[in-house]
Symmetry: C2
Subunit: 80 residues, 2 copies
Amino acid sequence: MDIRRQVGMNVARIRREQGLSQEELAFRSGLHRTYISGVERGIRNPTITVIQEIASALVVDVAILVASTKQNSKYSGIRY
Amino acid sequence: MDIRRQVGMNVARIRREQGLSQEELAFRSGLHRTYISGVERGIRNPTITVIQEIASALVVDVAILVASTKQNSKYSGIRY
DNA sequence: TTGTGACTCTTAGTCCGTG
DNA sequence: TCACGGACTAAGAGTCACA
């Protein structure tokens, strides 16, 4: 599983859970709307600082964004 | 707390726990030794794919490398 | 509201060294 | 064994018009 797709799926899922548009997330994270789009689709290869900014805008830990879907599909199963 | 330092401390700590040199980790991860050095010191801004390669070489999950564990700050009294 | 190609500018990442 | 620097090439950051 490509880590970029994994991060993208997590960002998109959490963003939707919070009822945000890509544009709103872009504004909150200080990134461009099309860049957020690229990250969510897994075609961008973001640096750790960018991921940090997105995580901050979503008010979640960076570890949540890089976690495999299998682990965080149900929060109950997470082991740290 | 700078996420880059956080990742750097985690990489350095886990690498030492496994008794590996920077050069050995560089070889296993397919990255350059000077780059590993920079990541550990927090002066590099690695992409998510690079972090995954390092995580793979250390046989840990990516989430472990980005985790902000309070244990790290007082680990061995290291000053950064 | 989001996807996409095509950019420019900046930095990620390599390779040569030294102390 | 590692920190650190200079110079370099590949790739990411960041933006836009348009679909």
